[in-house]
């Protein structure tokens, strides 16, 4: 059947043939890339692209690249969603809808995978890179080169998912690829292999990034910033990275074992041979549940910053906020069984995990009340980040209540794998994670780019998202009660579900409009930037250190490392009307040199993944050697990996920047 070839493995011309609609997407993507390359060539920007971006180790630039990738993936995944919604609205009774079942399965698998790994994780790491070093008064992260490598591994994983569109096909086994369906016997194609390797590579990148930021926060805070004086965003990142450090190795193991099952015939999760598929489900959720907190905690941190800034009050209950974060971090590892109450673990086990799940809602509630108390009697300014926050509070509370319902095993037996569940987790992910990241992007955009975004268009965008969300997902809650299961691409007319599916489909168009507005308003904002320029680096009357430097900040963030004495140091300084900055003595600044090594590692990792998927093993070996040799050269080369900006040069740069400021 499948003939393995020495040179090209299982890769044949057939792998490039697809349904028309997929070919269209592939051609579109290829054309977009070509157009981009042509533009760069025309503008003679290749050298600039290489030295300023591709080889950069500056977290601010890496952050921008993360976010660009994530937004691109949001658009791709958005297109997937529209197709799914169209299918579910039309495929009823004798009509088979617009796409075949096999494609529908790939769509929901790709959508879930991309949204979690390449949109939500990408936005999160992007914002962390942009903001965290600035917020803790640091010039850089602990391991800048490792940071760049993390980004390129993320990009390699993203590339693999998208290549599967054109060469072969993607997994049809859902975003978590449960066995036995994902085993070779039932998924003999390359789809699940694409899934495994894109997640494995991106996941290792995330693990390294987590170690990096954890060390950064613990070792690189500016003088005076004790842990209990850290901004809440930094606290949330600390907790999230801690979770990631413990969760991602489990993902690495799980994916590796599934790969071994498929590649060399081990029996970890197989039906026969002494395998245990329940073990897979346990392992993947031992990563998966912490993962949702990894994503949502930084978003909580963003909301904390936004609410305090726009209420012009210190965050209410700082210590209880920290305690809540830490409690969530610990509890996050004790609830994973709620994802499979129906698998027969027994009443006692289910009861325990059900109760733990309800308990974890308590610290989350504490945070909600603290935010509301922060707003209470504040002089609230309703800038757009606050809109996303307000939308979040309403939706997240509804989604949380739905979650507590699902936490009761008896109810879960009714609603497991129904559209009620789909509606629940989208409420949490969209309002919790996505809205939070949007709020953060809008809030910190002026810091990065030097001007504010268009408030009016952003408000339109918000309303589209908010209303669209309700129109999409309220019908799904109802459909879930009516018995509609998830991942359904066809149903009988007698169910009476079609009107609700049509409403939901229309809602997704409203969300699409919101996304389009969100992206297009950037263009408008760029054209209007003369009027929205952030001249003093502090567009929102901010409280924390990132607002004390210019927008955009210099490579070294701060000419002299700040010293802080309390929480909200910048706010305190402004209240006291502190004396004009004394003439400071500048010192030499050491910064890491740019290097393409991170990109090479990412490139080799891509080749490793691709060749393992297609059984082109000779090339796998070469690519692994490539990684090893690159690493060896990097550690044995005696070149300085840092350069120095002399004090005099710093003084010159600073005075020219001051000139801009005045």
């Amino acid at each position: 059947m499948i003939i393995a070839n020495e040179i090209t493995g299982r890769l044949t011309w057939g792998a490039f043939l697809h349904a028309l609609i997929t070919e269209g997407a592939v051609v579109g993507m290829a054309l977009a890339l070509l157009a981009l390359a042509a533009l760069v060539t025309y503008k003679r920007r290749w050298r600039w692209l290489w030295t300023e971006w591709l080889t950069t180790v500056d977290p601010k630039k890496l952050g921008v690249m993360y976010i660009l990738v994530a937004i691109t993936m949001l658009v791709r995944s958005g297109a997937d969603v529209l197709l799914m919604r169209l299918q579910q609205a039309t495929s009823v009774g004798s009509s088979q809808g617009v796409i075949p079942t096999s494609m529908f399965q790939q769509l929901f698998s790709a959508h879930g995978t991309i949204m979690i790994f390449f949109v939500a994780m990408g936005l999160m790491f992007g914002i962390i890179n942009l903001v965290l070093p600035l917020q803790i008064g640091s010039r850089d992260v602990a391991f800048p080169f490792l940071n760049a490598t993390s980004f390129w591994l993320f990009a390699a994983g993203m590339a693999l998912v998208n290549v599967s569109l054109g060469i072969g096909q993607f997994s049809a086994a859902g975003w978590l690829a449960y066995p036995p369906l994902s085993e070779l016997q039932y998924s003999p194609g390359v789809g699940v292999s694409y899934w495994i390797w894109s997640l494995q590579i991106a996941g290792i990148g995330s693990l390294l990034a987590a170690v990096n930021f954890f060390v950064t926060i613990l070792r690189m805070r500016c003088p005076g910033m004790t842990l209990m004086k850290m901004p809440m965003f930094a606290w949330s990142v600390l907790c999230s990275m801690f979770l990631a450090m413990f969760a991602f190795p489990i993902l690495t193991v799980t994916l590796a074992l599934l790969f071994l099952d498929r590649a060399i015939g081990t029996h970890f999760f197989t039906g026969g041979g002494g395998g245990n598929m329940m073990m897979y489900v346990n392992l993947i959720w031992a990563w998966g549940h912490p993962e949702v907190y990894i994503l949502v905690l930084p978003a909580f941190g963003i909301y904390s910053e936004v609410v305090a800034t726009f209420s012009r009050k210190p965050l209410f209950g700082y210590a209880s906020m920290v305690a809540a974060l830490v409690a969530i971090t610990i509890l996050a590892f004790s609830v994973w069984v709620h994802h499979f109450f129906t698998m027969g673990a027994g009443a006692d086990v289910n009861g325990f995990f059900g109760i733990m799940t309800m308990i974890i809602a308590v610290p989350t509630g504490v945070k909600i009340f603290n935010w509301l108390a922060t707003m209470f009697r504040g002089r609230i300014k309703f800038a757009t980040p606050m809109y996303w926050f307000m939308g979040f509070v309403g939706l997240f509370t509804i989604g949380g209540v739905a979650g507590v319902m699902l936490a009761m095993p008896a109810i879960d037996f009714q609603l497991h794998n129904s559209l009620f569940l789909v509606a629940h987790f989208h409420t949490m992910l969209v309002s919790g994670v996505l809205f939070g990241d949007f709020a953060g992007l809008i809030y910190w955009f002026p810091k990065v780019c030097g001007f504010r975004l268009n408030e009016r268009l952003l408000k339109y965008s918000f309303w589209c998202w908010f209303i669209g969300f309700i129109v999409v997902f309220v019908p799904l809650y109802i459909l879930g009660f009516m018995g509609a299961t998830r991942r359904l691409d066809h149903y009988a007319a007698s169910t009476g579900w079609q009107p609700l599916f049509i409403i939901s489909g229309l809602g997704s168009l409203i969300i699409a409009a919101g996304l389009a507005l969100l992206i297009l308003q950037v263009g408008v904002s760029i054209r209007q930037r003369a009027t929205t320029r952030d001249v003093d680096g502090d567009p929102w009357n901010g409280r924390t250190l990132e607002w004390t430097t210019t927008s955009p900040p210099p490579v070294y963030n701060f000419a002299t490392i700040p010293v802080v004495h309390g929480r909200d140091p910048f706010w305190a300084a402004k209240q006291e009307d502190a004396a004009p900055p004394e003439t400071r003595a500048f010192g030499d600044i050491h910064m890491p040199k740019n290097t393409p090594v991170g990109m090479f590692v990412g490139g080799f990792a891509f080749v490793v993944g691709f060749t393992l998927i297609w059984h082109i093993y000779w090339l796998t070996i070469l690519a692994v050697l490539g990684i090893l040799i690159t690493a060896a050269i990097r550690t044995t080369s005696t070149d300085e990996s840092e350069y120095t900006i002399r004090a005099a040069e710093v003084a010159r740069l600073e005075s020219s920047r001051q000139g801009v400021l005045v």
Binding site: A142, F143, L207, V211, N212, F214, V215, L218, R219, M220, M245, F246, F248, P249, I250, T252, V253, T254, A256, L257, L260, D261, I264, G265, T266, H267, F268, G272, G273, G274, G275, N276, M279, L283, H590, L628, A632, T635, T636, T638
Partner: protein, 204 residues
């Protein structure tokens, strides 16, 4: 920081100390994540241990004298590795290279015993495809072996670097990290020795 730097005439300025502290702390954190990875594999092994599916159980295939030799060799390599680091602190380059050569050879011996052992299991029909138990066994022990291989490669590269550039501050730091890694693998092996081999052979 250590005597070595002063002996080497290096100046322990605050920045170097900071870089060093960061690297060592970061490496500890990385080791913790690696620990979680092994914990995952141990858990898998514990679940699948009795799933022999008609194939051999642990006590039927473990060659305990050989495992004991492996263990002693690895323990000894940890010892020589420690001596190497001590020599680096005293800035005795030739000794450092000597001790690490010994560590390297011991590591290689460990690895070759493991590989021959795996080989004979496979040729006797007890490969990883035979049962869930054997899948878990090969994967857990093999992952440790893979780590040892990476450690050996690292050791070789670092030796070249030390020969080229001497016991600089940076090199001593790298050596410290390598020795942390090596001791960590030793520790993991102790768990493998106990949980896989001893408990397997004793049928507990």
């Amino acid at each position: 920081m250590s005597a070595a730097e002063f002996a080497a005439g290096g100046q322990a300025d605050a920045r170097d100390i900071e870089v060093e502290a960061k690297a060592i702390f970061g490496f500890w954190v990385y080791l913790m994540t690696d620990c979680v990875l092994f914990a995952g594999l141990f858990a898998t092994y514990a679940v699948l241990r009795d799933n022999t599916f008609g194939g051999p159980a642990g006590y039927q295939i473990f060659n305990m004298p050989e495992v004991l030799v492996e263990t002693l060799v690895l323990l000894m390599s940890s010892f020589t590795c420690g001596l190497g680091v001590l020599a680096a602190r005293g800035n005795r380059k030739a000794q450092v290279l000597g001790w690490f050569a010994a560590t390297f050879v011991l590591g290689l011996v460990f690895l070759s015993i493991e590989v021959t052992d795996f080989h004979s299991l496979v040729t006797h029909g007890s490969s990883w495809t035979r049962s869930g138990f054997l899948s878990a066994y090969f994967t857990l022990v093999g992952t440790h072996g893979l780590h040892i291989t990476i450690g050996l490669l690292w050791m070789a590269v670092l030796a070249v670097r030390i020969r080229k550039t001497g016991l600089t501050r940076g090199n001593v730091r790298r050596l410290t990290l390598l020795s942390l890694f090596w001791h960590f693998l030793d520790l993991v092996w102790i768990f493998i020795f106990t949980i896989v081999y001893l408990m397997g052979a004793a049928r507990v």
